[in-house]
Amino acid sequence: MKISILSFGIAKDITGHRFMDWSLGENTRLAELRTALEAQFPALIDLASLRLAVNSEYADGDVILRENDEVAIIPPVAGG
């Protein structure tokens, strides 16, 4: 199945893309996607923190991903 991945801030510099299409097996957990992203883009591991959001909500690693989900890579935020 396919999901889309959005990268922001320094994560966009690291992945090189704002939007990426990503292929996954059925019933992939978010933690597995995180491991795959860190393997492909090791500089993500050096960040002060890294959170993932699914469909615009922060999500834990045990969330099961579904077709067409939108996952956002959220490096340390710095609003205000």
Binding site: F8, I10, A48, A72, I74, P75, P76, A78, G79, G80
Partner: protein, 138 residues
């Protein structure tokens, strides 16, 4: 009642204050976050902000709703800027009305402190000799 905006043009402090006006309130507290010209002794030329817009709006809304409940706020306006900001520009404006003054200070502080922790907005500092995403690395 809430008004939340992400804007790529200068923020109007007066709009936020006007929105927060309430006959049931005895206080309006306003916080303005502005662009500072230095960081750790180094001169900053400007800042570039970006947001994951739908999520930023929904996370700000969660904070505002919590502030209404926790501090009895009547009306809250939160405007945040995105795009390129020059020194002195307002990056965020928060206006909160409450029945009594103490809660208005506390609500404003709660909102800005929480916004900085949870809302998906990022800023890059631009220097003479390079640029850095703020807080990205330990």
């Amino acid at each position: 009642m809430l008004e939340i905006k992400l804007l790529d043009s200068p923020l109007s402090v007066q709009h936020c204050i006007d929105y927060a006006q309430s006959g049931a309130a005895g206080a309006i507290n306003v916080f303005i976050g502005t662009v500072r010209d230095n960081t750790q002794g180094k001169q900053v030329l400007r800042l570039e902000y970006e947001a994951y817009e739908p999520m930023a709006i929904s996370e700000i809304e969660k904070i505002a709703r919590q502030a209404m409940e926790q501090f009895g706020a009547k009306k809250i306006a939160i405007y945040h800027r995105v795009g390129t900001l020059e020194i002195g520009d307002a990056a965020v404006v928060i206006a909160v009305s409450t029945p009594h003054r103490k809660a208005s200070f506390e609500a404003c502080q709660f909102i800005i402190d929480t916004l900085k922790e949870t809302v998906p907005i990022w800023k890059k500092e631009i220097f003479e000799d390079g640029e850095v995403w703020v807080a990205a690395h330990p």
